[in-house]
Chain length 191, copies 4
DNA sequence: GATGAATGAGGCTTCATTCAT
DNA sequence: GATGAATGAAGCCTCATTCAT
């Protein structure tokens, strides 16, 4: 928000970049420090351990992701536009953090509490999206007999794989792909 | 199945278990050795390094997965039955190897050649499934205007997330879930 | 001499001691570290591997040896005094580094480039000494028909064996032997 | 002696080749076994450990060397011919065993008893050669005021370095060099 | 006797973490 | 607060040695 980012946030952002590129173990504290433009020791002034840094980084990323989803879900658009927006934003987020979104839940290096917290967040996210489906039904944009849980799974699973494939196939090239056909495909199942 | 398994395969199977549970870095060679019931040194009689072991393990798992998919795709059933079978088998495979299927491509610890090989396998798998969609169209089981690439992405993405969520929510409990509703949901988009 | 030695040099000097006493393989990095009064890890801050440490140590020793020889060769004394000085200094050097001088070229654990460098240094040293012989001839201290290459080989070979034998026979006892007779013997062949 | 060499001797000869080329530590038991054309386990049927094998190999080499020297020293030739023969035979021996002769005494991996035995052998060898000098004096081939110990040191030191240099410079090429000039140089000091 | 698969002690190396400046 | 040199626990890997066949 402010023009002056504090050190902590700088390090956190460097962490996102490094951890998502290299994974927990191959990311060295030194790499993060360099990326943040500080010395190794400085990292330890803001985070007590590599674990904690990793967890805080996840929190940071997950919260940003949740924020993005919330904005879309609570927006004014109809359901198709919302799903389309989800797709686009998800793609942007992935391009920034590469595998983060998917790797995160598989990473072993989080505390039990953290794992629970992540599950909580995921659940929260799903509920949010299920709410979106429910609203769609009420507004007549979605068939009444659609199972909202199934719908969310299918939408998000499709998006994940769509962008993972795109990233895999066009690695490096920042080409903007058009998820419209995918969204239309999904709408056929929903409407 | 057979009473006589050679050491290499024993170690490979132990690797699948250990690596998929702990990830590359947290899995110690000693863990694998113990799981295979041999001494640390023995692992090195069959694999020249931890890296190689990991890669051979992936190969082993990917090939098994591909075999399963092939059996289904080339089977006699109609498209809905095939997707249902894919779902069930995918679920079984995941239960065995947990996160393997999804973590694999993100793992940093594979050689460039291996990464290419995996991408090749993925591409192969997708082509196989696209063929399945195409056949479905020809048999009138799938609408003609369905994009086969989109369809495969949506099907597989949905399956991945469906079982990931299930594993997350019922971790440990080997309860058999019923993917019929998901398949029916997908069929609405396809038919 | 100076009160302030940098860590790198400290470790290098400890290496000379340890490697020359124990040889490449029997010298443990931990031994070197302890001899230098630092922790194992510290060695790796200054040298990337045991190999590199070994090679740098050789460089260090060879350069000191060459320096000593140069001082003598370019000094003001006559040829007999120079050979005597070479003998004495060689003995002192050996007492410090024991077998270093002779073992070095046979050690397997040097890179090809290093081996070439050592050969280059040896060649350089021989040329230096041949120059000394040539000067002796010009000053009438050495017969004109003496082959300078043969002369250098005989002088240095005699010195090597003389001190090796002495070290072997009086191992430990730092008794100062008198190489005068050997020098006089060599002078009979030269003059 | 017999046309059929027993296994033990075969392994011993393979050891000479391997140890002299690679040094104690870099020579693997497997290398020796392969060179001898037997399996690893077989080596242990004849030698209880790598150490013992190494020591027996040294014994074998030293005894052969001593035998060669004895033949020359007790031969009928005059002193110059004997020194010449020593040079030629020493060169041949070195070409076969490369650095063996010089590396042996520096090797750390011999028991205290072995080290003592080697020193004993060396002393014996030197006494033999000093006897040769003494005989030369008695026959009037060598000046009376020559110190026999010094003479032997100078002769053998010169030979060692002469052939080491030759091997270094013409590594690989089996060219027969002519040590006559060196011998004549030494004779000037002796006569 | 001969074999070579299995073993596990031991050493090099990495890197998270500390702490004096 | 910031730094980065020093530390040492921990893990991969090698290879001498054993032993069942």
């Amino acid at each position: 928000m402010t023009a002056v980012k504090d050190r902590r946030t700088e390090i956190l952002q460097a962490s996102v970049k490094i951890f998502s590129k290299q994974g927990f173990h191959d990311a060295k504290i030194d790499d993060v420090a360099q990326a943040a433009g500080v010395a190794k020791g400085t990292v330890y002034q803001y985070f007590s351990s590599k674990q904690e840094l990793f967890q805080e980084m996840i929190k940071y990323a997950v919260e940003r992701y949740t924020f993005i989803v919330k904005e879309i879900v609570y927006g004014e658009n109809d359901i198709e536009e919302k799903i389309y927006a989800l797709a686009v934003k998800h793609g942007e987020f992935l391009k920034e953090h590469i595998e983060m979104a998917e790797v995160v839940p598989h990473q072993v290096n989080v505390s039990k509490e953290m794992r629970l917290w992540i599950m909580e967040q995921k659940k929260h996210l799903f509920l949010l999206l299920e709410e979106m489906i429910e609203n769609g039904k009420n507004r007549g944009e979605i068939r009444k007999d659609v199972d909202k849980e199934i719908a969310v799974i299918s939408i998000m699973g499709s998006l994940f794989l769509y962008y993972e494939k795109e990233l895999r196939e066009h690695r490096g090239m920042p080409q903007r792909s058009e998820p419209k056909p995918l969204v239309e495909f999904l709408m056929r199942a929903l409407h």
